[in-house]
């Protein structure tokens, strides 16, 4: 069962849609799965949510901390700063 | 017709939970505050004695000298549960945010004289450490207190205090242009300057006070009851002479918060004192003792701003607090 997947789950709603789209744009290996009311995104090793990508999609300022509002769950280590929210395995 | 039948047939079979019904009657719905506050804390059938306090149960009335027949008598006049508390605070935070942005954008602090800025920094910035102690003290009351009525309000208070510590830090950053120098100077003063040592000693003494209700009286009534009026009314008023309302705008949250929180503090004291003469005597003894300590601890801070008038200012504040205790809680702490 060796693997190094990380995942993030978001509510499936209007606010989360551009975030999901940004993740798809910036993470080529991300797999997006739709469950009732929820979207779960898996990727090997790393998922990054970039402020700039989201801002381009919604046309306004976006703080990566806004992610909290629609976040459901995640797995992996977190690194959060002004420009991105990153999930990763290892160091 | 179908609608009428449907409406008629879907009557609730009860109005509220049984524990709430036992307290307020079963014939009416209960408020959200009551349904999510009453009897939340377990009271019986604990499985294991705490390793960190084997003389008591996990939740135990024996951790304070105060005795109550019903610990849910401490209802919060603000009726705060998590939702109403956060929503209230976020509205205040919106206002504070706008005030900070307003002062920042127009460089209003640049219009304040250097002496006044220094004074503001010297008084406000070290207080963030005192607020941190208040945070831990209220978390202590939440952790080891008895009954959700008072413990949940203490947990909100604890987070409020961390918030205030952070607002005070922001004031420092606005004064020093985000260099953090004011914060470093403030900490140095807190650790070493004579002005702050009595207060620092008091906060450290409070952090080892074991009776949680005594801690409530000492922190939330005595120390706050003297320090908030001193800092956010008297000293702020003094600074206004030069700074206009600029600095007051940055303090507005604290001012408003203190007014609101005092209602809760007073109602807790009133309820506990009204319960028995023993409670009343105990609270009065604590209140006198800690008001004396707090008065002494704040005296040098008052002196920084008021010089020789400090005695008079502190005596006035003590008298006002005694009047408040008498009027709002029926306590004699002269």
């Amino acid at each position: 069962m060796a693997n190094n997947n990380v995942f993030i789950a978001l509510q499936n709603n209007e606010e989360a849609r551009p975030i999901i789209e940004a993740i798809e744009q910036d993470n080529a290996e991300a797999r997006v799965e739709y469950a009732p009311a929820m979207v779960k995104i898996d990727a090997p090793g790393r998922i990054v949510v970039r402020r700039e990508t989201v801002e381009d999609l919604i046309g306004r300022d976006w703080d990566p901390q806004e992610l909290h509002i629609n976040l459901i769950s995640l797995s992996g280590n977190i690194d959060e700063d002004d420009d991105a929210f990153v999930l990763h395995r290892g160091d | 017709m179908a609608i009428e039948i449907k409406t008629a047939s879907i009557e609730p079979i009860r109005h509220t939970f049984s524990n709430v019904a036992r307290r307020q009657g079963a014939d009416k719905p209960a408020s959200r505050y009551l349904e999510a506050m009453y009897d939340l804390q377990p009271t019986v059938n604990f499985h294991y004695r705490p390793l960190w306090d084997p003389d008591h149960e996990l939740y135990d009335t024996g951790r304070t000298a105060i005795d109550m027949a019903d610990w849910y008598a401490f209802r919060d006049p603000r009726q705060f549960y998590y939702g109403t508390w956060t929503i209230t605070r976020s509205k205040q935070q919106d206002v504070a945010e706008r005030n900070y942005a307003f002062v920042d954008k127009r460089n209003l602090l640049d219009l304040v004289g250097a002496g006044t800025r220094e004074r503001a920094e010297a008084v406000f910035v070290p207080l963030r450490h005192a607020e941190y102690a208040a945070n831990l003290n209220n978390m202590y009351i939440c952790a080891y207190g008895y009954g959700t009525a008072i413990t949940q309000a203490a947990s909100f208070n604890a987070v409020d205090r961390l918030g205030i510590a952070q607002y005070l830090s922001r004031i420092g950053l606005m004064l020093d242009g985000n260099t953090c120098e004011s914060l470093d100077r403030g900490k140095q003063a807190w650790l070493e300057a004579e002005t702050w040592q009595p207060l620092r000693r008091l906060t450290e003494d409070l952090m080892v006070t074991r009776d949680w209700f005594e801690l409530f009286v000492a922190q939330n009534f005595a120390l706050d009851g003297l320090s908030f009026p001193l800092v956010y009314e008297r000293i702020d008023g003094e600074l206004q002479k030069d700074a206009g309302s600029t600095i007051s705008m940055l303090n507005e949250f604290m001012n408003e918060w203190y007014g609101e929180t005092s209602r809760w503090v007073d109602s807790v004291l009133k309820t506990a004192a009204a319960e028995s003469d023993a409670n009343k005597a105990q609270i009065e003894q604590w209140a006198r003792h800690w008001c004396d300590r707090a008065g002494e601890a704040l005296q040098p801070v008052a002196t920084e701003v008021f010089g020789e008038r400090a005695d008079e200012v502190m005596a006035g504040l003590r008298e006002e607090l005694a009047t408040r205790a008498k009027k709002k809680a029926g306590l004699d702490i002269e």
Binding site: P36, N70, L71 | N178
Partner: protein, 513 residues
Amino acid sequence: MAAKRLNLREKYQKFTRDLAWEPTYQKKSDIFPQTEFEGIHIHDWDKWEDPFRLTVDAYWKYQAEKERKLYSIIDAFSQNNGQLNVTDARYVNALKLFLTGISPLEYAAHRGFAMAGRQFGGVGPQVACQMQSIDELRHCQTQIHTISQYNKYFNGFHDWNHMHQRVWYLSVPKSFFDDAMSAGPFEFVTAISFSFEYVLTNLLFMPFMSGAAYNGDMATVTFGFSAQSDESRHMTLGLEVIKFMLEQDERNVPIVQKWIDKWFWRGYRLLSLVSMMMDYMLPKRVMSWKEAWEMYFEENGGALFEDLSRYGIRMPKYWEVSVKEKEHLSHQLWATFHNFGHAAAFHTWIPEESEMQWLSEKYPDTFDKYYRPRFEFWRQHTKEKGRWYNPTLPMLCQTCQVPMLFTEPDDPTQICYRSSQYNGEQYHFCSDGCKDIFDDEPEKYVQAWLPVHQIYQGNCGGASIPEVLEYYHLVDGQDNKEYLESNDRANWLRWKGMADTEADREVQAVVNE
């Protein structure tokens, strides 16, 4: 003046850990008296990494936004009698188990994290624990407010916290949290933040909330997902605290491993209640317990422990047993509750044929072979001689307090019994995992308030079932027993029947079976 801008990390550092100081008037060990007795060595609290950097103002802003959204949905739900939109009244029983079993744990977490948030010696973990403390209060309160509407229309909810402190199977969750809270702050956080939240909580919330969505319970979905958004912060705290302890001192490693072993097993036993909820209590099912265990424990848990192996941490002891048990867990639980349904605060029933079919498909190696015959036998028995309830009291495991219902890991026809001697008394366990936990701290676990022992000792109102039910505040004939004979079902059909003839056909189907 041209002010420079502080980045998030610097700002957060100044706004939290820089607030503390090295005390000189009091000893630090008197201010934080609980940081050493567990044997954990911390050399530098400043090495704590804050994964999330929420200042209080941002916390208020985002939490208030979540609360506004949630309460507007709760309001709409009650105004529109949303409880009538669930798939079937049987679904509501899952919520009863939730309110009596899980919501009180949210409260316990609120107080437990307040303790940890006061006791840790560094501001980083203090603040993380304090925020979690009030988040947990939020979860408890939003659950009460959501389920308040169900309480007005269904039985079994009305005295949830009174029941939580007394009813036999609810001592499983209660003793779990009492155990964690009565330990020190490091063990508490390892137990709750890491083992429960990080490793296992996805098994509670993800399938259950998706289950609520499948079953038309939008209010529960909303509080569930809204709570989960806080949960991500909590899970991260769990991982951070483990890494912090492991990095501080290598003497911490065996202690942490022991706690991970213990709390994995404690948490897993607690989740056995969730397994039956998933497989038996949801009229429309999302995934089986077995599938959920594979996805959330074997897969994600596997990746996590691989990540931790560089610190010398291995998979929790007996995880292989959990993998073997996944084929059996939910069936054994539901069968037991079916038989003791007269003493439970929710209704029980025999799965309908279509549901048995689903179970056969999800559990091809075990359901038809071991469990279907039992349910068919009971169905037949009910038809011929009436519903049967077990009149005796079950023996409980001294550690997890679940009745002794689990079978040997390699023989599903043998009940698993283990025992230990302590001070001349014999104590009984459901598994090697529970026996190990007892053997490591027997002086703690002999104190357990075991509901069945308490009944026999006369501490629960009397020795007869009616007396005990009264002590539980469990109204006989309303809160308990068979779903088909319940007021809940009768009311449901009445409410739905007038608006929806579909329900009538369902009744016919059941009655004429």
